[in-house]
């Protein structure tokens, strides 16, 4: 059985518990054991790097050091914000000796030497599991399901580190969904910001950014959106609920986590609970495609 390090993070323990459910079921169907980082802490997300650079590096560095100590060489980070912070911290410490000393000084007695590879969910599925293995484990075809792939900001926009795919027009998610039989539709907003950072502090900004995305998704004929980031999924899902309540506008676009659809194709049965956790209930859509 393959073993991969796992930074589960705050979101997957709370507001996106449903992501953890489908992700863990899918990896189990792919015969992969996810090994959590012991005693992990919050990466500080946007708030740390936004107001305190050193803290913004120190919080992810503690997790990197713990993973290293545990002998984990590859760590899956499903949340894009955490992924970005962990990757940028690792790169900062690799390229800037003085910064590395200072960061290690702050997290002592821990110390990060630089041996951990940080990977997002699409990278793990593409490079560690691979298409042939996914095809072998596939139990069901998602044929006819027309979706837009939403990458958001942090999967490909990693300023000081190489990106795992094209920064402006990534296609890893589309290829994966094609493999599962779905019909990903090309659209121009796959890496445009959804404003999740303002979901609680400046709601009108985040609904404004989301409306543009929903509108385009419908215009290209998508029936649903697919996201890899718990914060993007929550924001894209929740803002449809807000727009419906406050303005009476209904887009009715279910927002799936990538592992919801992967899990469906692999035959994982997560039951009604999984779909009830969505603000825009996807059961009607899945029923139409005979998928639930």
């Amino acid at each position: 059985m393959r073993r991969i390090g796992y930074y589960k993070s705050c979101s997957l323990n709370a507001s996106s518990k449903d992501y953890a459910r489908s992700l863990e079921a899918a990896f189990s169907a792919l015969h992969t054991e996810l090994v959590p980082i012991r005693d992990w802490n919050c990466c500080g997300a946007s708030s740390a790097h936004s107001t305190n650079e050193l803290l913004g590096y120190a919080l992810p560095a503690r997790n990197l050091a713990l993973a290293e100590q545990q002998g984990l060489t590859t760590v899956l980070v499903p949340c894009s914000a955490c992924y970005s912070r962990m990757l940028q911290t690792a790169e900062k410490m690799r390229l800037d000796d003085e910064a590395a000393r200072e960061i290690n000084d702050v997290i002592q007695p821990l110390r990060y030497l630089g041996t951990v590879q940080i990977k997002n969910i699409l990278e793990i599925l593409r490079d560690e599991i691979g298409p042939s293995e996914i095809l072998r484990a596939k139990r069901r075809d998602l044929s006819g399901l027309r979706v837009v792939c939403y990458y958001g900001c942090y999967l490909t926009r990693t300023p000081h580190a190489a990106s795992f795919d094209d920064r402006e027009n990534p296609r890893t998610m589309e290829r994966l969904l094609e493999l599962l039989g779905a019909e990903p539709v090309e659209w121009p907003y796959k890496t445009d910001c959804c404003g999740a950072g303002f979901s609680l502090s400046e709601e009108p900004f985040s609904t404004q950014l989301c409306e543009k995305l929903y509108d385009m998704a419908l215009r290209v004929g998508a029936e649903a959106m697919v996201a890899t980031c718990p914060l993007c999924q929550t924001n894209l899902d929740l803002n449809q609920d807000r727009l419906r309540r406050e303005k009476g506008i209904s887009f009715n676009l279910p927002v799936f986590y990538i592992t919801d659809l992967l899990g469906l194709a692999l035959g994982c049965d997560l039951g009604a609970r999984q779909w009830r956790a969505h603000f825009v209930d996807p059961r009607g859509l899945l029923g139409r495609h005979a998928l639930c």
């Binding site: 709370a14 913004g56 900001c153």
Partner: protein
Amino acid sequence: MSDPSFAERPAIHPAGTLGEEIRQQTGEDVFRCYQCMKCSAGCPMTFAMDYPPSQVIRLVQMGQEDLLLASKTIWVCLTCYTCSIRCPNDIDIAQVIDALRERAVRKGFLPSKENIALFHRMFLENVRKRGRTFEGEMLARYQLKTGKAFQNAGLGLRMFLKGRMALLPESVENRKAFAEIYRRVEERGGRK
């Protein structure tokens, strides 16, 4: 006799100026900007900004610190990095804005967007306590403080009903040792 070649000329980075201080802090050289405005064209938040990113860079070059630290822009920037990856001169503009925001906090500038600043502060306080966020507590405290408790009262409940709210907080094993990280960062007053 002849001028030294362009490459040999000393860079014009007046010591002690804002641009030079930002370069020392972040490694980003704002003097490379030639105002192509690609950053401002791609920025999703310009509609709520007083200075679009290209003007922020220009103002840093000109040392207009007070204007920048009191601006809406530094709080409205979402750090989506669209500007940073498109800059033809490889300036990580979002990181320059991070540095300005950090300066504004340290120098006690009143944030032009109070809720955003408050959210960051409460988020980090929440993490300091247990090493992990406890979303329910943070949401409740934040809503009480901003007076959004009424307006947004249903949000926590709706998340709970969807099974998307943890009822009990999680914590790192040794909270005291974890809080030391915060203490050491404060001792250093952030990164030099």
